[in-house]
């Protein structure tokens, strides 16, 4: 065994050990873990769920954070007097294609993985996500950084993202995909495009994107070929010419006219409208942008949902929310506000050891091998291990979702949609 392998093995072992032990420590939280939104306790609870596949039994808070706003001030109404249904009978599946045409796609839980590119994250983490998506019979997204050969075996569960830089987008990557996701904006940094700093553009990343090594890469903030909804329609028509079977997802941030964007996307052929709020994003998104541009997603969801209802097309399009969905309770709240389901990315990173240290943009900043492309660090995540952790996390979330629904007497997660009346706001 060479010295590199030894180093990797040593670190991997310690990371695994730490993830097991940390949630059980009796001396209070480790210093410097998390922040107000992703509290230390929430992170530890996520580690715990990723380890066991069960909801934490040791008293760790696993439902909400402590940000003083957003989902953290929304709670569940009392369900006293409601006839409970059997948790095992609760159906968590949602449909990703509600149009009368094209391939019917259902996922057994109202969650799929968000786009994180090869380059922004390590290949091993990407494979782990893809394997988990296959196991869970849901999806993950390539993000904008190309389609590594190693995830081709999972292609029936991988969404190809077409984003403004179109890095690594080729006809075959569009043809692999059951769903193509147009990324117009990212909630964490709307209007700023994408950026991958020079540090992380290693030779592998540069090769995948066909760019120069160690030069920062920017994706423009708009598609230069799309400046209107009719351009977008044409853009969709193009992708559908390349892959007529693909479902279309349109990912946008939450501007004040997001309802108009949603209806426009529907008429331009979208199966999924994906609204991405500002609480998400890795440490690579600029602090000044996060949470500070566009509308909070908890306002955007009902705005879009209700507008689609009033226009009479709500049952023909799937509304997906994302951007800071940390827990099963967040998922349920987003659905109660009007979404069909959620896209999750950061929580998956936490499942494999993210501590929210915020060093994601640096080449060797991530000490647990998630947001790095460094040949050494990126080996810290074994894909099989990562797969197990992510699957466990979502199994635990599913249990929690079943509990919430059962208590309100709802037999299906589809019945929760738009039930704002089940939410209360804490003062």
């Amino acid at each position: 065994m060479g010295s590199l392998e030894l180093i990797v093995e040593k670190h991997t072992e310690r990371i695994h050990h730490g993830l097991e032990v940390l949630p059980t420590l009796k001396h209070g939280l480790p210093a410097g873990l998390g922040n107000k939104r992703w509290t230390g306790e929430l992170i530890l609870a996520t580690y715990e769920q990723a380890l066991t596949g069960e909801l934490p039994m040791n008293g760790l808070e696993y439902k909400t954070g402590n940000s003083g706003g957003g989902f953290d001030v929304l709670g569940w109404k009392s369900h006293d007097g409601v006839a409970k249904v059997d948790e095992d009978q609760v159906d968590l599946s949602i449909s990703l294609n509600k149009r009368g045409e094209g391939k019917k796609i259902e996922i057994p839980l109202p969650i799929y993985g968000g786009g994180m590119s090869f380059g922004s994250i390590s290949l091993n983490f990407m494979i782990a996500r893809a394997r988990a998506a296959k196991k869970l019979e849901t999806y993950t997204s390539t993000g904008e950084g190309g389609y590594p050969d190693q995830i081709v075996p999972y292609r029936d569960h991988v969404i190809t993202q077409v984003a403004t830089g179109m890095f690594g987008v080729r006809e075959e990557t569009i043809q692999y995909a059951p769903i193509v996701e147009f990324k117009y904006a990212q909630g964490a940094k709307p209007g700023l495009g994408g950026h991958l700093l020079a540090d992380k553009v290693t030779s592998e990343v540069a090769k995948m994107r066909e760019s120069s090594m160690f030069t920062s890469l920017y994706s423009p903030f708009p598609f230069h070929s799309v400046y209107s909804v009719e351009d977008h329609k044409k853009h969709v028509d193009w992708i559908k010419t390349v892959n007529p079977r693909a479902l279309i997802s349109v990912k946008v941030s939450t501007p004040t006219d997001v309802d108009m964007v949603a209806i426009g996307s529907y008429y331009a052929g979208a199966n999924i409208i994906h609204i991405d709020g500002g609480y998400g994003g890795t440490g690579a998104a600029p602090e000044i942008a996060k949470k500070n541009i566009a509308m909070p997603v908890e306002y955007a969801i009902p705005k879009v949902h209700e507008y689609l209802v009033s226009e009479g097309v709500r049952d023909k399009i799937t509304l997906i929310a994302s951007g800071g969905i940390r827990t099963a309770d967040d998922v349920a709240k987003a659905i109660a506000l009007g979404a069909d389901g959620c896209v999750v990315a950061t929580a998956e990173a936490v499942a494999v050891g993210c501590t929210h240290c915020g060093n994601c943009e640096r080449g060797r900043g991530c000490q647990v091998g998630i947001t790095t492309t460094d040949p050494e660090l990126s080996q810290f995540i074994d894909p099989a291990w990562g797969e197990k952790r992510i699957v466990n996390l979502f199994n635990a979330w599913s249990k929690r979702l079943r509990i919430i629904l059962a208590e309100f007497g709802l037999a299906s997660v589809r019945e929760l949609r738009g039930r704002k009346d089940l939410l209360v706001r804490y003062k």
Binding site: F167, R170, S216, T241, M260
Partner: protein, 878 residues
């Protein structure tokens, strides 16, 4: 500051009057509107709206509405059937049942009654008391709207009143509004305007249930609109044979779902102008506030309405000449501003200071039809925004009639011309000239105006840019029709190559006939074509020879003498189509043909190197059964040579073929639509003509040859490919390209060429772009354009690759760059690009020595002719 326009020529030339008087009356008009009621919430847009499909035409003779139809049908994807409209300007009195005098002097008030029962009340309250009605009628429409397929909402009944304001009413109005010093005709204009506002306010905007609204009220101008497509308007209101000198057709794409009446559809009117719009504003709120400060309030709450209100304010109240009006809407900025002459800088600076808050921000393109009543001139104006974010193409053709066209797509222009040509009204389905405007620029100002006015021989059509510089065509002959079948001239037949070297060599044949094509007449060209058509029927090899020879005649640039190239193109186009159509459907020929009706007969090719000829005419332009998908199916069946003809805006040709298509060849004849050659990976695609917007997106590998211009966002995020473009690229080519694209553009580009270019090390397998800055002259030479690259942001923030620009006069300056660097052009660079220039010579006949390196009859060293722009390491990228 005296706002008098330059006396030079063109747009603003006749403007001259005391500006202080204008300011005074302008202010009184604005003050007079204070007493008008205001709407509840003008700051909330009724619905977002995206791009649209637009076409406008102006002609020195009145043309029937049917000529818009095909063009609008071919752009249906740009609308969604929830709003269509037309404007017609410069009408024919007989067809309206009025005298010429009435048509010239009366306002044509057209009211749409959404609620039929409101008509009497509207007439009694807002029409009869104030107007002398010289003529009135219900606008003719088909009996049952459902007979027009796809029309789901019954269009409103429209009544047309030819009116003048009663003298006493006008006196009273002048007194009440303190406008007594105003000219009588201007006073009357304002009365009509305010009366329509009151009508709309009372019967439209203030009501939950809308009852009626004014569709148009200008002189010699009508607007009609409905919930549907623009072409539905022509059909529903029976305008196929209705004649006008100026037409606009429009499809709207409102994003709101339920639309039950056409109040929001374009065109909107100011007074004597109708405006359609493609795009949307980011600053609707700010513009509404700007207008509110001038007592102007939108009632229909769309971007388009505020656009025309702005237009009317600046033109009718402030009386700006067109040049300044355009500047107020689309300001000249950045380097372009610096490039203006000092006097213009001063005036434009003042205009911008006063109007920037009312200047629409965002992607937009306006087409305006305007009656300049005083001069009895009818105008068609196209203005693009400063950033050129919406597609636009202009065209001009001169023949027995002179016609100018503006549209979202070139294929839409050709569709209008095609219909006119088929009816024998014009000699060719090709314009003499096509061009794009460069928004907010010092070169053309981003706007062009076609004006129909009285001349020495009836009506004349003129074309000028924002600065009033005339766009002219050389005086050449066009093809006179109708043509009779030509008897084969024996001498020509003898000259035709039979067997031997030339028979196998179309290029040799082309070079042989080329000198004669300059000096001889259309008759000679016709005879050559007859002979080629005959050859095409003789055998398989001679058919190949005929097709290749005809393609060369069609594609190449050469001196056509006194004959218009557009007329020759028409002849070649017809000959090619005839040859293609004569290809048998049988599968046992080197060439085999399929069309929409026979598409199910698609099978494996029977012979190696067999060519599949596809008549694209009836294939859908997009979707699962489109021509593009048919090409994919054919390739999957094993076809390696596919030739498409009769393309009419078919989109996505070349897409969907998947990876590694190295031995596939595709040839496109006709008008290809957007996104041609996008994603190709290995194949060779040749476009015999121009490409449109979004050509070559993510192009991976292979060869693309375009015998014409390409549109906007060319080769966006391309990964590779060897690409040759005969003409210009519009805005934003090669943005975010990576890998190894190697591109020769023989014309130029408008702006943002190769922004964020990341194509590695050009000497080491990376990519580059060569810009030659040439254009074909009317006598068939390649001459230098005024600027090899006129815009800004050249190679901005690029981190790889290089630009090689032919710039012997050193006109490109570093202030056009943004993060790149002008560097010495070395021998190494020449060795790098030379093979591509030689291939360029082969495909277009642009000689490296004679056309590229010779300047002022002097052979230059490549380092004198070319310059290099290379990336520099930027802190932003480190």
């Amino acid at each position: 500051m005296d706002l008098q326009a330059s006396e030079s020529s063109g747009v603003g030339r006749t403007y001259s009057c005391d500006t202080s008087e204008i300011a005074l009356t302008g202010q009184s008009i604005i003050d007079s509107r204070k007493r008008l009621p205001t709407p509840d919430s003008p700051f909330v847009k009724q619905g977002a709206e995206g791009g649209c499909g637009v076409v406008g035409l102006a002609c020195n003779i009145p043309l029937e509405g049917k000529y818009l139809l095909q063009s609008l049908v071919q752009m249906r994807n740009r609308g969604n059937g929830k709003g269509g409209g037309i404007a017609a300007l410069g009408l024919v009195p007989e067809q309206l049942g009025v005298t010429e005098k009435i048509l010239r002097e009366d306002y044509i008030l057209q009211v749409a009654y959404l609620d039929q029962s409101s008509r009497k009340q509207v007439e009694d309250e807002r029409i009869r008391p104030f107007f002398l009605v010289d003529h009135e009628s219900k606008v003719e429409a088909v009996d049952d709207y459902r007979s027009i397929s796809g029309l789901e909402v019954e269009p409103p009944e429209v009544y047309r009143y030819f009116v003048r304001v009663k003298a006493e009413v006008l006196d009273d109005f002048a007194k009440k509004c303190n406008l007594s010093s105003m000219k009588r005709n201007e006073l009357e204009d304002e009365f009509v305007y305010q009366n329509s506002y009151l009508l709309d306010h009372q019967y439209y905007s203030s009501l939950g249930e809308k009852k009626a609204f004014v569709v148009s009220h200008g002189k010699n101008l009508i607007v009609l609109k409905l919930v549907g497509y623009g072409d539905d308007v022509v059909k529903y209101y029976r305008l196929e044979d209705f004649k006008a000198h100026v037409w606009i057709g429009h499809h709207r794409y409102p994003t709101k779902g339920r639309v039950w009446h056409p109040g929001g559809a374009h065109p909107f009117v100011g007074l004597h102008e109708a405006l359609v719009h493609n795009g949307d504003f980011a600053n609707y709120h700010s513009i509404v506030e700007y207008l509110a400060q001038r007592n102007i309030h939108p009632l229909f709450l769309t971007d388009t309405e505020v656009s025309v209100l702005l237009f009317d304010l600046v033109s009718r109240i402030y009386k700006y000449p067109l040049e300044y009006l355009i500047e107020a809407l689309a300001p000249t900025t950045e380097r372009d501003f610096e490039m203006l002459p000092e006097q213009k800088k001063e005036i434009y600076g003042l205009i911008q200071t006063s109007h920037i808050h009312g200047s629409p921000d965002g992607p937009w393109f306006f087409i305006v039809a305007r009656n300049d009543v005083e001069k009895n001139a009818w105008q068609l104006l196209g203005i693009t925004d400063t950033s050129m974010l919406r597609p636009q193409v202009f065209a001009l053709q001169e023949g027995p009639v002179k016609i100018g066209i503006i549209a979202s797509e070139r294929q839409a222009i050709n569709a209008v011309l095609g219909r006119l040509q088929e009816d024998g009204r014009i000699p060719s389905r090709f314009a003499d000239s096509y061009w794009n405007a460069r928004g907010g620029s010092h070169t053309d100002g981003g706007a062009f105006l076609f004006t129909v006015r009285d001349g020495d021989h009836g009506k004349e059509l003129e074309c000028a840019d924002k600065f009033g510089r005339a766009i002219t065509l050389p005086e050449q002959d066009w093809l006179h029709g109708p043509r009779t079948d030509l008897a084969l001239n024996v001498s020509v037949a003898l000259q035709m190559p039979r067997k031997g070297s030339q028979a196998q060599d179309p290029l040799g044949f082309y070079e042989y006939v080329r000198p004669a094509l300059r000096d001889a007449g259309f008759q000679y060209a016709g005879e050559i074509l007859e002979e080629l058509k005959r050859l095409a029927l003789k055998g398989q090899e001679s058919r190949r020879f005929a097709i290749q020879s005809l393609s060369l005649l069609f594609d190449r640039i050469y001196d056509t003498g006194y004959k218009k190239r557009s007329s020759l193109l028409q002849l070649y186009h017809e000959a090619l189509n005839e040859v293609f159509s004569s290809v048998p459907v049988s599968n046992y020929d080197v060439y085999t043909r399929l069309d929409w009706r026979n598409r199910s007969r698609l099978a494996h090719p029977g012979l190696e190197s067999q060519v599949l000829v596809v008549d694209a005419l009836e294939f859908p332009v997009d979707g699962d059964e489109s021509a593009a998908r048919f090409v994919v199916d054919a390739h999957n069946q094993g076809w390696e040579n596919i030739l498409l003809y009769n393309l009419r805006g078919h989109r996505f040709i070349g897409s969907g073929l998947g990876p590694r298509t190295n031995s596939l060849k595709i040839d496109c004849y006709g008008d290809v639509g957007d996104y041609v050659a996008s994603g190709i990976d290995g194949c060779e695609l040749t476009i015999h003509g121009a490409a449109q917007d979004q050509a070559g997106q993510i192009l991976k590998f292979g060869k693309l040859v375009v015998h014409g211009d390409v549109g906007q966002a060319f080769m966006y995020a391309a990964k590779g490919g060897d690409v040759y473009v005969l003409g210009n690229a519009a805005g934003r080519p090669l943005i975010n390209a990576v890998g190894r694209p190697r591109v020769v553009i023989n014309g130029t580009c408008l702006d943002y060429l190769a922004e964020s270019f990341m194509a590695g090390d050009p000497y080491n397998g990376g990519g580059f772009v060569v810009v030659n800055g040439l254009k074909p002259s009317f006598d068939g030479r390649f001459i230098e354009q005024e600027y090899p690259y006129p815009g800004g942001n050249l190679f901005s923030l690029a981190s790889g690759g290089a630009i090689f620009i032919r710039d012997p006069h050193r006109k490109v300056s570093s202030d056009q760059l943004n993060g790149g660097r002008l560097a010495d052009f070395t021998l190494k660079d020449w060795e790098l690009i030379r093979p591509y220039l030689e291939e360029n010579a082969k495909v277009f006949g642009i000689s490296v020595e004679k056309d590229l390196l010779t300047v002022d009859r002097r052979l230059l060293d490549p380092s004198q002719a070319y310059r290099k722009i290379e990336p520099i390491s930027l802190q932003e990228l480190a």
